[in-house]
Assembly symmetry: C3
Homo-oligomer: 672 residues x 3
């Protein structure tokens, strides 16, 4: 539970470094990340290296009692390298080359670039192998940023063919697995398969899914190249990578398997603008959406089931979203607490000082362009002091798992079947309903052992194989509480439909099948009715008309649709366990009607429904209440509380930390 910062000594005169680093230490920071875009500074010409500046910066950091985190500088190959070996550049699917002049312009499958990567990574790793002030390494920077996971160059074409030839026994096997009889798409050989380029109509979904897998896999391999070289140089270093928020084309679980520590870059007021459906509220523009950020905290924590880091934390206004409102007063500190409450062990702000040059001049730092403290600095300093006080780094114990899978994401993104179907949004709908009850949630890959969880929510297990079906069945039979969402059990591993009714291998467990499905524009009235009550609830985007076998209807359609009184949501009790199948994309209130009884059945501690933007987390013995709303709130715990930080009444964008677990019976009232 500590604070750090990202620093670019190469952007500032040496005479300033001492001042800066002293101010970091004064603020109570522990980690300073450096050098992730420094290749052209470290090696201005091929073979001419200049490490002195970085040596000196690391030394200064050590002298001030802090530790350096260094980065392999591969995210920005220098111009001299691009000019020497232009084949390293990425290509769009239409053949447009992505040139030098910004960042991330290299291809992960380029053999030339892998050679150059080995060369530079070995060099920097060796240089600091014995440096006592270097705690660990970040590989590259934000793999996949700016849509760079998928490249379509000649190196990729070769590598894709090799990947397929290795995966499939023969071209006949591939043709069978994909189903290339459709539209005469049969491939005569592996050599005949290209990356998916421009075509008159849609691509074959099986080809697209394999290209998605192949492309993600290339990043896994490329990251492993860094990891191996770093570990070879010094096996005590930790190695991490800084992922981004809701990055879709890269399987972060797979990359994480090679890491010691997972970290990510959190920009709350940017993410609500550019990766959330709908228009953000004023409070979200000031502090972000705690569930959007929280779901990524939980995903990256769950990736290795271990505390994570926020490697870059938004420090103030930022340059890349459509709008750049100033964060709410206190938001920078709030985010550090929120991350910690979700299981972060370190939060590093990006960056130390607003940069005078280049593409990010409109990105704030903890310090202004003149070097004086900005609001973020004060927030970071206060957070550092408070977190030191809160102490102890317990790992978060989550009683509920949400199952998430990048392969489902790719398959559903290729064939959304509605402009409004966004898998991340659907996840957040179910996830948010659990979080609105204060429950900690793991966001795990479906292959994760489920026994430890009291309840499991799977919003859309699109591709389900028999092994997973067996595991889920066993989970319920052993008393587990399972909630399945729409579009579950549709496809096989090759993105082909199964020749049985949805949810395919889960049909017996669910006790119901999908008779047919539909996607729905907003002008159609979409409601379901509780079978044991008068209430109706909105749903959106997706509807499945269910045929019950051993299951019981919970909600039925009740709208100007085509077949009312049809089951939309069903329940089946299996021994001590229960499986609920939800065939629609629920509104918030409908999701709450599903999650609340789920938590009750699973006997999971939970609060009353929390106000929008207010969230509660339990980590170790402590309870965090974080207020992302623009209202002051009053906290009403059911038991006595000792407040480590704050009190029972807290302001907008403020936080309170209790020494106890206070979730059960907790209620929170907005004061306006």
């Amino acid at each position: 539970m500590t604070i750090g910062v990202c620093y670019f000594p190469e952007h500032w005169p040496r005479e300033r470094w001492e001042t800066d680093i002293e101010a970091m230490a004064d603020a109570g920071f522990e980690y300073v990340r450096m050098a992730e875009f420094s290749w052209a500074v470290l090696e201005p010409e091929r073979g001419q290296f200049d490490f002195e500046w970085l040596d000196e910066a690391v030394e200064l950091i050590g002298e001030h009692g802090m530790q350096a985190v260094l980065c392999t500088p591969t995210a920005t190959p220098p111009k001299w390298l691009v000019d020497e070996r232009p084949g390293i550049l990425q290509e769009d699917s239409d053949g447009t080359v992505r040139e030098h002049g910004s960042r991330r312009h290299y291809c992960f499958n380029s053999t030339a670039y892998r050679e150059e990567t080995e060369r530079i990574v070995s060099r920097v790793a060796d240089r600091y192998a014995d440096d006592p002030h270097v705690a660990g390494w970040q590989t590259d920077n934000e793999f996949g940023c700016h849509g760079t996971v998928r490249c379509y160059c000649a190196d990729c074409a070769d590598a894709f063919r090799e990947y397929l030839a290795e995966k499939y026994d023969s071209i006949e096997a591939l043709n069978d697995a994909w189903g290339t009889t459709f539209w005469s798409q049969r491939y005569p050989s592996f050599e005949a398969i290209d990356p998916p380029g421009p075509t008159p109509s849609d691509h074959h979904p099986s080809r697209l899914l394999e290209y998605a897998r192949f492309s993600s896999n290339a990043v896994v391999e490329y990251n492993r190249l860094h990891v191996d070289l770093l570990r070879e140089a010094n096996s005590e270093w930790f190695v991490t990578h800084n992922f981004m928020g809701r990055f879709s084309n890269l399987d972060a679980y797979a990359v994480s398997e090679d890491l010691d520590l997972v970290s990510w870059d959190s920009y709350p007021t940017g993410f609500v603008q550019d990766r959330l459906a709908g228009e953000p509220t004023p409070a979200q523009l000031r502090a972000g959406d705690p569930d959007q950020i929280g779901m990524d905290h939980d995903l990256y924590r769950s990736a290795l089931d271990r505390p994570f880091w926020v490697m870059e934390q938004q420090p103030g206004d930022i340059n890349w979203p459509p709008y750049a409102p100033q964060p709410g007063d206190g938001a920078m500190r709030l985010w550090a607490h929120h991350a910690t409450a979700h299981g972060a062990d370190a939060v590093l702000y990006f960056r130390w000082r607003r940069c005078l040059e280049g593409q990010e001049q409109y990105h704030a730092g903890l310090r202004k362009q003149d070097g004086s403290p900005d609001r973020g600095y004060h927030g970071a300093k206060q957070a550092a002091a408070e977190l030191a006080e809160v102490g102890e780094d317990d790992h978060v114990e989550a009683p509920v798992a949400v199952l998430f899978d990048f392969e489902n994401l790719w398959a559903l993104t290729e064939q959304p079947h509605s402009p409004d179907f966004d898998y991340w949004e659907l996840l957040e709908r179910f996830y948010g309903a659990a979080r609105a009850r204060g429950t900690q949630v793991d966001v795990v890959h479906p292959t994760t052992p489920l026994e430890e969880y009291d309840a499991v929510v799977a919003p859309a297990l699109h591709l389900v194989d028999d092994v997973l079906a067996t595991r889920l069945t066993a989970y319920v039979e052993n008393g587990g509480e399972l909630l399945l969402g729409p579009r579950t059990g549709v496809k096989d591993a090759y993105n082909k439909l199964r020749p049985v009714p949805q949810p395919g291998p889960l049909a017996d467990l669910v006790g119901a099948t999908v008779d047919r499905h539909e996607s729905l524009p907003s002008q159609l009235d979409t409601r379901v009715r509780n079978v044991n009550g008068e209430n109706t609830y909105q749903f959106q985007v997706w509807a499945e008309w269910l045929e019950t076998a051993t299951a019981t209807p919970l909600f039925v359609y009740d709208a100007d649709g085509v077949e009312n009184d049809r089951a939309a949501i069903t329940r089946r009790d299996v021994g001590d366990g229960t499986v609920v199948y939800c065939g629609v994309w629920p509104s918030e209130s409908l999701a709450d009607e599903l999650i609340e009884p789920l938590l009750a059945r699973a006997d999971v501690p939970s609060s009353d429904r929390l106000p929008d933007g207010v969230r509660v987390n339990v980590r170790g013995g402590r309870t965090w209440i974080t207020n992302f709303s623009s209202d002051r709130i009053r906290i009403k715990p059911a038991t006595d509380v000792t407040w480590l930080i704050g009190t029972a009444t807290i302001d907008a964008y403020d936080v309170a930390v209790a020494e106890q677990r206070v979730l059960d019976g907790l209620s929170i009232e907005p004061l306006g």
Copy 2:
């Protein structure tokens, strides 16, 4: 009046075929279409043919008393062919090649592809030349789908130059005809003329119109290649092609001249979403717009003045529109009746069973993915039984002609002069007003003899030559009722303005000229007033300020415009005939004010104005009432009726068929 289905035996195991084909026969189907994307199955490697599967399928169909319709498999050249002869691929105007991986990736002007087409078409035609179970052939599949009529490759460049050299006596003649003095666009030779590529500003409209003609003409030639080979093999086969709804770049009239039978592919709930201005209503999302579909039925029936087929009929939810709501209960049966009422002799549903592989997994079939009947199957079966009962295949006799011309469409699409000007929409405005009175309408090319029609409506005869002007004048002088719409008589055949006031050669007939025109955004108030009354009516998009000579104003402008009391719509009586010129794009109510008196003057039987979504058709001695609305309706005929199907009260998406003609005096009341 019969039902059929599209079947892909190559997608299913042989042991299933018997079951499937038996179920088709049980449902009363007569035709099974097959093989339109089967090239890679029929010829997996060059020269290695495999016909056995198709032989067997045809044989099974015959054994079950049905007939096969086969397709030339050219819409999807296999990968081995593309790799051997990559020059067959299409190119976009910016040089991007449209690669293998979906369908329709070949160029119509490719000499290589024409050779390959001859080779495969001869082969398949010869194979089935003596097969008693093959009734006829469909050429290729949906020419022009996915924007593929216009290609910009080197073969096209050569062919375009040849086309021009053949059409024009000399390059000077072309320069004069197009008017290339403008912006120094003079061509020094035919060799200097390219397909229209990327340019800083707009292209010359005369060049664009010729490229549109040339491109459509290439498809005509390409289709003829198929037709000739098929007829050579067996002159008793019918040959058809399956057109699509509102396909703009291909002159379907010209292609049809080489066919025995015209067919098209009808997807009502898709077309209302992707080729209709404005947001569809809930009822349209469930069943489509009967006038949008009806206008295509009438166009394709009129193309050869002969009963047509629906070669692909939507079977349920489909994959390609933005949203995929389930069709209303009964809609699949309704569509078959509606097509029949418009003159269809056969309606084939697409497809038999939801496909497990490839791009159309989200496209329903009559059977679900597990092979069990879906809702479409029940609707199709019921329709088959009912249509067998209704009997007799009379040809539709339409008293009213709407004049339509693809060249007008191309010219107006290149220079719409307003983002809201869509020629198809304007057509439907006039067409729909006639259909709202139950009148059958032919949608014919302007060169069609007009004597047989009681009334003729020409929504926008943009390019008018003297011959047409003479014919229209004679039509009115001989007692015809003519209604002309805006943008009539503007251009010559080369897309140049005439040096006389609009409507050019029609000015004498109309008795008025266009003083000036304007296009209008929605924020301007646009109304006209009946000169003999107090009522005002909205219009949209387009206004022409008329100068009357021998004509009388019917409606004048009455808005915050720039010149009120100017004539907007005029009338001139010529002997027993009348010509009305409408200078605006009328609202629905204004169009009704023009069509109702037109039908009265022409003495055409008509009903009261029908409710939205309810339409009436007379075919032979029968009357169909089709209800595309979400309301129950009550039918109130003026005379006694025997109901062959249904009764006087019918539900949403239901149909009634009377044994008599009941149009005159008919009124229909929505019951909500």
Copy 3:
């Protein structure tokens, strides 16, 4: 104060010319512009010239007592030239070549095209060197139209490298000046720098700004080539270029330095549709926005501080905006008066007659396609008579300067930091507040001497150097009234941030600094409150939180923002002068609250706030009242008035001209 017309004799038969030219003379026109797209007519094949047609047209014009303005015909290189030397074509940043087939397809940096330009310009200049009827020349036509200032071809790459090598002492100097350490963007040599092509993320802003400068500079050079050759042929000719409205990529001030006369092309109902934020009002659709047009009149007048021309004046409905409503009754005449009131000495309508061929058939002329007079002809003729009567060509004396700079525009357009930040719109907000008081305004480059101005408004002096800071300080110290807008004093000349608080070198003068800034979407409440009052005012898009030193707050934030009561607008008195710093993008009413007291302090004559769409101009001793609104208005001068044209009550789209200056105390009432 005279009228003219643009004529294309080459589009019409010679037998028509006499009729046309006589009608021009009858209408009182003085100038006829010709030949700007005539290269292929003048030189149909290389070296084969045909000047006779133009000789004859010029002669006829002279015989009718008018003068010809000729154009160098380089905007449309003929096809034979493109085919001979294809390297002259422009390239987009993604490598797409802009082909022949419209206009402006050549690259300004093409050495081949500069050779060809010399050849043709010398030839035409020599031909008419002694012709008494040729008054002057227009170079080329609308440099930059259709986004053609910036090209990315190989010639441009070479020229860009030369430009940089000449500007910077060494590559190290460039790397330092730009700050290429950021993201490892260091350039090893000038040869390594390319035009900015496709990249995964944003380009370096310093590179972009240099490319913008370089590209604009190439046009300056290219124009100078024409000017030098024309002056060499006949030094008494005037040389002009016709700029366009709100053209952003070309520095019109820099081009103008080589001209004798500045002219521009004014299309009021087009510009309100395609280069104005927000939806135009009905009145704007009929007559345009007088401030949008007026600001360009003032900019082009200010460029040489000399009367300007409107070289193309909209004659009626036009082809290129989204919609083509007919201009309001009288608008064509209104525009001529409005231009004259802003300092125009000649207004030439474009074009004489609607063209029968090519891309502009939907563009009206003063004559219809049949040659008969259109409404524009009557308006132009009336304007010619009235302007002859008004007489005397005084130069406009403007007491207020608005500072404008294309380099600021480029820097802010590259990094708007909000989708809503449009520098032109911000300028018009301040400019319009001054014009709503009837004040004449110069729109000048910041290097213009300021002493002559009573007040200076600088809406966003983004790039400020020390010289400008010193000059502005001296201006205020000497009693000047200065109003600065947001985003002032942010960057250095290389588009790098200054390491001091904004407004950088102006901080001492302003007496306040920017603590931080934000950009704001419309869903956030954005208001400021007058410190001496209760009123609140909206602002938009941009907010700077000010820290006052020697300045006093005038307005403070008062909204649900993050820090209220912070200064938003400050004032500092310096001797007799005052500097007001406005940290927000003001609403119209807030701008009025700033401009009204500014004019009062500066003792500038002004009217009451004028109604929307009504504007007043003083030129010499006369006062023009122009009514762009759809209301009739009543003019209430404070003193006696003699009306030269019109009376005190004028209709929509009408004008009145008084013999006196009547600004002070003037009020105008809309009558509805």
